[in-house]
């Protein structure tokens, strides 16, 4: 495997008394595409939200691009600049135009000059084929378009890792493909991606490795061909039987 960029070692996390992540060990290499799947409530979203510390872990270590995530706010800020995230509910800023959504962090986090921020934003919007919508507000776009804006917004920060938290789950069926296509193009460009999704087709065609979680544990991880053909655990077979078309 290539040089690791995300490392989970013995990570445990609780929500109150609920043990949501149990003894997580996971290494993601540079340029790797990981798909995390599992039944709902298995902790997969929590897992990737720990990578940019939207959730704090209580035990173990998480290292992202050489920086260990700790209470120290500076380490969190450093990591967040390296890691982009796309959410299930898009989470665009509704009071800003599409262009302003993308330039906001460029102006106020990277402190780029206005012209440069706008040029970079437009470039990213073109990349997800939505450049012509720059002046509109998010509420005027379809779900698929909004999610592509969210991808452009994250990409504009030039992250080294992209996290996707069920990016197509809130979309109408006919819009899923346009978002998956944007993600596919990104994957072909060599971006490191960790994707929580139920889109097994995407896992099969894009992932280098599929990670299966259940009840807070990583039950198995394998390249997709192996994962889908010969799952080792009963629990995995069970899950696949439910989500794969027969």
């Amino acid at each position: 495997m290539s040089e690791p960029i995300i490392t989970f070692r013995g990570v445990n996390k609780w929500f109150g008394k609920f043990h949501v992540l149990r003894d997580i060990d996971l290494v993601v290499g540079k340029g790797e595409r990981i798909v995390v799947c599992g039944p709902s409530g298995s902790g997969k979203s929590t897992l990737i939200r720990c990578v940019n510390r939207l959730e704090e872990h209580q035990e173990g270590t998480i290292v992202v691009d050489g920086v260990e995530l700790t209470e120290d706010l500076r380490s969190v800020e450093t990591v967040r600049r390296e890691v982009g995230m796309v959410f299930q509910q898009f989470n665009l800023f509704p009071h800003l135009t599409v262009l302003e959504n993308v330039t906001l962090a460029l102006l106020h986090v990277l402190e780029l000059p206005h012209a440069e921020a706008e040029a970079r934003a437009r470039q990213q919007l073109e990349r997800v084929h939505i450049g012509d919508q720059a002046r509109k507000y998010p509420g005027q776009l379809s779900g698929g378009q909004q999610q592509r804006v969210a991808i452009a917004r994250a990409l504009a920060m030039q992250p080294r890792v992209m996290l996707f938290d069920e990016p197509t789950s809130a979309l109408d069926p006919e819009m899923v493909k346009e978002v998956l296509d944007a993600m596919l193009e990104l994957a072909q460009g060599g971006m490191t991606m960790v994707v929580v999704t139920h889109e097994m087709g995407f896992a099969r065609s894009v992932a280098d490795r599929v990670v299966f979680m259940d009840q807070g544990r990583i039950l198995e991880q394998a390249p997709p061909a192996e994962f889908f053909a010969t799952p080792r655990q009963d629990r995995t077979r069970d899950f696949l039987a439910k989500v794969l078309p027969r």
Binding site: N52, L54, E77, R80, R81, V83, G84, M85, F87, Q89, N91, L92, F93, P94, H95, L104, A105, H108, V109, Y137, P138, G139, Q140, L141, S142, G143, Q146, A150, R153, A154, M157, D172
Partner: protein
């Protein structure tokens, strides 16, 4: 351009067509809106007969039989069968400007007009730029120079002589204006991750909201001078403005908190994931949305402060209603207090109605993004 084939295809599929026309005309409208059912008819008849009962007498009293000249004998002769607007004609300067020296009334008039002008300018979102702060600083300075005098050849007028409408405007705007940043700060503190800050904000809000404004005004007038450090340049008026600000801030904090809580958590997470710091997140993402959400409740508390300022009469300040009471001190015109209150009430009504219309307009303008449903196309 529709080809015949295309047109035919369209109609076969049942393409879009206009909605069926409603029967037009006044009668059809009335049938739909006034006499749709037995209850609707009853309500219409009731409302119309109530108006028929009240309106003619009202018009006669306020307009037809009224005396407009400041003529005391004519007013007496009316024996209350018509309004004596002469009372207002006689006393309007006292009501509007309180005990401000008569010869200098142009000063509060110009000062108030300047403030109103500045308000009109700042009403438009396009004026929400940095220069607006400069404009308000200038207007505030001009207001105080005009009111206080003592420079530029203006005779000095102590703040204890200020009164009437300018005082009402000053108390409301200074109190509410200063309470906005304080209230936003309190609201943010109350949702902060730091327990001490959170507890402090909460204690302050609960404490202040548990006390009536009138008590706060008494405390400001009689207790502040004892506890404030010696030599603080704060006269009675300054203490009252401070009291209204501190009082209003607690309510403002809860108004703002309502807006903050209405925002989905994802907004915060998206901002954080982009690397925005706490303050940038609040300023660029959270507050702009939260403040638009609270415009209706904000205007609500602005209006109630506008009215509540009349409580300052208990500490010997003569705002609009206080100045009216001064005017009614004249034994001759005392009996025509109803006309006086109607006059003052009309001023309040015009201001509040204007403000309310403005807030509707602003809400619609700023909330454009909020009303656009995500299209599913």
């Amino acid at each position: 351009m529709p080809t015949p084939a295309g047109a035919a295809g369209h109609s076969e599929l049942g393409g879009p067509r206009l909605p069926p026309e409603r029967p037009g005309g006044a009668w059809a409208w009335a049938r739909r809106n006034l006499f749709a059912s037995a209850w609707s008819t009853l309500a219409t008849v009731g409302a119309v007969s109530a108006a028929a009962l009240v309106l003619p007498a009202t018009v006669r009293w306020t307009l037809l039989d009224a005396v407009w000249r400041p003529d005391y004998q004519a007013c007496r002769a009316l024996d209350y069968r018509g309004a004596c607007w002469g009372m207002v004609a006689e006393k309007h300067r006292l009501i509007l400007f309180g005990r401000f020296p008569n010869a200098e009334h142009w000063r509060p008039l110009v000062a108030t007009l300047l403030v109103v002008l500045a308000l009109l300018v700042s009403g438009h979102p396009r004026a929400w730029r940095r220069w607006l702060l400069g404009l308000w600083a200038t207007v505030a300075a001009a207001f105080f120079v005009l009111m206080r005098g003592g420079v530029l050849g203006l005779s000095p007028v102590g703040s204890e002589q200020w009164g009437g409408f300018p005082l009402t405007v000053l108390l409301t705007l200074a109190g509410v204006g200063a309470s906005i940043p304080l209230g936003v700060g309190l609201a943010l503190a109350r949702r902060s991750g730091l327990p001490l800050l959170r507890a402090g904000a909460r204690l302050y809000i609960e404490l202040v909201r548990g006390v009536p404004l009138i008590t706060v005004l008494f405390v400001a007038t009689f207790v502040f001078p004892l506890v404030l450090p010696q030599g603080m340049p704060l006269d009675a008026l300054g203490r009252i403005v401070l009291a209204i600000t501190l009082f209003q801030a607690a309510y403002m904090a809860e108004v703002v908190r309502g807006g903050l809580q209405a925002l989905p958590r994802g907004q915060l997470e998206a901002a954080e994931s982009l690397g925005l710091g706490w303050w940038q997140t609040q300023r660029k993402v959270i507050l702009p949305q939260a403040l638009v959400l609270v415009i209706p409740s904000f205007v609500n508390s602005l209006l109630s402060t506008f009215m509540d300022t009349s409580l300052v009469t208990v500490v010997s300040m003569y705002d609009l209603t206080g100045a009216l009471r001064l005017a009614l001190g004249d034994a001759q015109w005392r009996n025509f207090f109803i006309e006086g209150y109607l006059f003052v009430g009309t001023i309040y009504l015009v201001c509040c109605f204007g403000l309310s219309r403005y807030s509707h307009w602003l809400e619609a303008r700023l909330g454009r993004w909020a009303r656009q449903e995500p299209s599913r196309a």
